[in-house]
Amino acid sequence: MKKHEGLNCDDCVEHLYTYLDGELTGETESDVRVHIEGCGDCFGHFEFERTFLRFLEARAKAQCAPEPLRRRIFKEVLLDNGSEAE
């Protein structure tokens, strides 16, 4: 027997980011999932926000540590630090 009859759209959207971030658990997570599966409006809204978060990650994660920095870490941290400690 369920304690309550799921969520309405406002309640559902309140959990939007925690749900998309994978931070919801237990009954709340399944309530949100069930609601989205049955509600076209919320489904569209959640998918839009998911696209936004993916876009953000893709754009901001393109940079890597530059090669000269890598070499500096090797030379000045890994090699020189040892000799200093001795």
Binding site: Y17, L69, E76
Partner: protein, 188 residues
């Protein structure tokens, strides 16, 4: 059971160096300056190696390294008023990108036209605590609990900072997309 300097160095190289990209990206967003970001990462790595015996194997190394990076930034690199204007988060709080464009562009296709530099510029205009939270979560993919440990605030604060930072970013990027003609302003 003492470990030699060589063993320590090898362990550090194998375990800590794979996090270099993450450390650099976070440093870059904290300092907004590539050469200061490199210095910051190097200083943090040096500190990490020197206190390597304090790291408990099997615990979260990424969080440990990021905490060292953040402390180093706060102590030695943070400059007051060194950056440009920040976004007013209060204004952006009520903005929801989906409300503006959801009808016209439900799949967010206009995002494709927004380039890396513009996104990074928008992130850099967030106030520091929001910027740092957003980068740790949305760029590096850290869970709330880990961000809470690194930034020393409760999980609830992490959540609300993230919420506000995302709203502010959406507002900023929407204005930019309208200005560039990627999408028309909602007539209303």
């Amino acid at each position: 059971m003492t470990i030699t300097v060589d063993e320590q160095r090898r362990a550090f190289e194998q375990e800590a160096l794979p996090h270099l990209d993450t450390l650099y990206r976070v440093a870059l967003r904290l300092t907004s300056d590539p050469s200061r970001a490199e210095d910051l990462v190097q200083d943090a790595m040096l500190k990490a190696l020197r206190s390597w015996e304090q790291y408990q194997p099997g615990t979260n190394l990424r969080a440990w390294l990021l905490t060292i990076l953040r402390n180093t930034f706060i102590n030695d690199y943070r400059r007051e008023k060194a950056r440009g204007p920040t976004v007013d988060l209060a204004d952006a709080e009520t903005f929801r990108l989906f409300d503006e464009v959801g009808d016209r562009d439900p799949e967010g296709r206009f995002f494709d036209q927004i380039v890396d530099d513009e996104v990074l510029r928008a992130i850099d205009q967030l106030p520091e605590e929001f910027r740092e939270t957003l980068v740790l979560s949305d760029v590096e993919g850290l869970p709330y609990q880990e961000i809470s440990t690194i930034t020393k605030v409760p999980v609830g604060t992490v959540k609300s900072r993230l919420f506000r930072a995302r709203r502010a970013l959406q507002s900023k990027l929407y204005d930019y997309a309208v200005e560039m003609g990627y999408i028309k302003k909602n007539p209303e």
